[in-house]
């Protein structure tokens, strides 16, 4: 990879912000995005587009003062429970829900891909028998 996803994401977000300042009301986001993808093609980094999109999401959420929160559950929870979880966090935060059966039970909450609260049964069992 020529540049890291963080570098790409910051460059794109900064370009969008500049564009909105210079051409208020005529923001050509589609054109910028198109150019961005062409740039990735040129650098040979199109295969990493998923990581880059994740990084862009992180940058955008942080710029709004929020955090990217990933909630990992062992199975699909009910809509009511999901709604309760979402209301526990401020509106600026972006919530992503993932299903991972390997945690067996409980929940894992990851903040900005840097901090974690791990209340899963799998981790509890691992810690118990260390």
């Amino acid at each position: 990879m020529k540049y890291s996803p963080t570098v790409y994401s910051r460059a794109l977000v900064s370009a969008v912000e500049e564009e909105s300042r210079l051409h208020a009301g005529t923001l050509e986001v589609k054109k910028l995005t198109h150019n961005f993808v062409r740039l990735l093609e040129k650098n040979g980094d199109v295969k990493k587009i998923e990581n880059i999109v994740d990084a862009i999401e992180r940058v955008v959420v942080r710029a709004r003062g929020g955090r990217l929160i990933t909630v990992i559950m062992p199975r699909k929870f009910s809509a009511r429970l999901l709604s309760n979880i979402k209301e526990s966090f401020p509106p600026e935060d972006k919530l992503i829900v993932k299903i991972d059966e390997r945690i067996i039970s409980g929940v894992k909450i990851i903040f900005d891909d840097e901090e974690i609260i791990d209340n899963s049964l799998a981790t509890a069992l691992k810690r118990m028998f260390i």
């Binding site: 963080t6 903040f111 840097e114 901090e115 609260i117 791990d118 209340n119 118990m128 028998f129």
Partner: protein, 510 residues
């Protein structure tokens, strides 16, 4: 199924407390060649141990490079288990090993894990301490001068290049010149040199063949030297990280005994391979390469390792850690990068020459280029008195040797010097695995330097020496060897007895 085990596990389950806590974590973004790159974990400390949570268990790693957004880590466990995307957590601990009396006699790897198949090292009945691998050297004020000899059992070294407890003496030479043999003889000699206290020996094998390490361990066991020796093994098949850590492990073990007021000796065999392992790690972590592609801090790597060897003052226990680092040169080039670095750090060097080795002079010590900067301060009085002229006689002989080839007639004084030089050269030859105690060395060197052996042909010197030592051990142990051993000095009365003993032996030989 064992009932006790079931009850124990039941107790652990009932008493288990699991609370929620916010932890920092990172992710593996690159893993190859024993190196991992981790994103996140912005609070990780340098040299902190990290835990990589893989599908098949946790793998430890060391935070080596702290960059702006990424940490360069060195894997300390099974590299095949680590995948991109694995979670990494901090432990808050620096790399350390458990040390205690029970580690003596064992063969361990760089992380202190036993590899000799003799089971767990620490039973929990004796004191165990966690010593960090990276530790700061003792301060200037906590040190005292080196004044207690560390006898190697090798005549050429004890007489002319004396080593003291707490000194760093480099053993340098090309491959197959006897560097490891000297190191092993030093270890073997500590069995009989216990007047100033038993020295605990630590042999650190870095990047060597596993068969060679096995042979060394077997040899130490055969001579019962493993009773006071620890072997740290990081063979050529070990990852570069283990070869890099091995000397630090040896130093950490030695520091335990040093800080307890005891004397320890650590042999790093060899630091050239240690430098190569460090270069490999640094290049993989993309640190800028310097001269000969070594990283810029290669000097600091060895200086901070060797500075941990010191003699402490009485207020800090009076213990010592002596270091015998070994460096392998290529084609006798002592002016290469790493050899010159280590020469400038150590308190002297023992230079082994291939030319001398192939001529049959073994140990192949080049007396002219070898030096001990501590000198006679670390020599017993008897050796100082007896061997004072030895180096001068040998140096004069080396200079006169050139005349032998083209001069037809030599004056009597020159002939005498040449005869004496040939005698001394033959006398200083010694088979490896047969270290000689200092008091016996003193008697034979006294006999040689005071003209008692001038009439003996060169070819008969070794048999004369062997029989003389046997004679003096059997017949004069109480009146000559014991006083020398106990006092370390040659008083008038003992000297007279020694002269008479030599005359007596010569008469018997007639």
């Amino acid at each position: 199924m064992n009932y006790d085990i079931i009850e124990k596990i039941k107790g652990e389950i009932k008493g288990f407390k699991f609370g929620s806590r916010l932890e920092e974590f990172g992710r593996i973004i690159e893993a190859a060649d024993g190196i991992v790159r981790i994103s996140g974990l912005s609070g990780a400390l340098s040299q902190e141990i990290l835990t990589i949570e893989t599908d098949s268990g946790d793998v430890p790693a060391l935070a080596f490079n702290l960059e702006e957004t990424v940490i360069g880590g060195v894997l300390l466990g099974d590299v095949e288990r680590v995948r991109v995307g694995d979670t990494v957590k901090k432990t808050g601990k620096v790399l350390s090993i458990k040390v205690g009396e029970e580690i003596v006699g064992r063969v361990v790897d760089s992380l202190g894990v036993p590899v000799d198949g003799k089971g767990v090292i620490f039973s929990g009945k004796k004191e165990i301490k966690e010593n960090p691998l990276e530790n700061s050297a003792p301060s200037v004020l906590s040190r005292s001068s080196v004044n207690v000899p560390l006898h190697t059992g090798i005549k050429a070294i004890d007489a002319m290049i004396p080593i003291g407890r707490g000194q760093r003496e480099l053993i340098i030479g090309d491959r197959q010149t006897g560097k490891t043999s000297i190191a092993l003889d030093v270890i073997l000699n500590q069995k009989q040199d216990i007047n100033n206290g038993q020295v605990i020996c630590i042999y650190v094998a870095i990047g060597q063949k596993t068969s060679k390490i096995a042979k060394i361990v077997r040899s130490l066991e055969e001579f019962r030297a493993m009773d006071y020796t620890v072997v740290v093994s990081a063979p050529a098949s070990a990852p570069a990280a283990m070869q890099y850590l091995a000397p630090l492990t040896g130093a950490a073990i030695g520091e335990y005994f040093r800080d307890k007021g005891r004397d320890a000796l650590v042999i790093y065999d060899d630091l050239s391979k240690h430098a190569d392992a460090y270069r490999q790690l640094s290049l993989l972590l993309r640190r800028p390469p310097g001269r000969e592609a070594y990283p810029g801090d290669i000097f600091y790597l060895h200086s901070r390792l060797l500075e941990r060897s010191a003699k402490l003052d009485k207020g800090h226990g009076g213990g010592s850690l002596t270091a015998l680092p070994i460096i392998e040169t290529k084609l006798g080039d002592v002016s290469a990068y790493v050899p010159t670095n280590v020469i400038s750090i150590t308190d002297g060097q023992i230079y082994l020459e291939s030319a001398l080795f192939f001529k049959g002079v073994r140990p192949a010590v080049n007396v002219g280029l070898s030096v001990s900067r501590v000198g006679s301060a670390a020599q017993t009085k008897v050796m100082k008195k007896v061997a004072g002229k030895l180096r001068l006689d040998l140096v004069q002989f080396r200079e006169l040797q050139a005349f032998l080839q083209f001069a037809s007639e030599l004056d009597p004084a020159t002939k005498k010097k040449i005869v004496r030089g040939e005698l001394l050269t033959e006398l200083l030859k010694q088979t490896d695995g047969e270290p000689m105690s200092f008091e016996k060395q003193a008697t034979i060197i006294y006999a040689a330097l005071n003209g008692f052996m001038d009439s003996i042909p060169v070819s008969d010197i070794k048999p004369f020496e062997t029989e003389f030592i046997k004679f003096i051990s059997n017949m004069h142990d109480i009146d000559i060897l014991s006083p020398l051993r106990e006092t370390g000095a040659l008083d008038e009365a003992t000297e007279t007895k020694l002269k008479l003993a030599v005359e007596e032996f010569k008469n018997i030989k007639k």
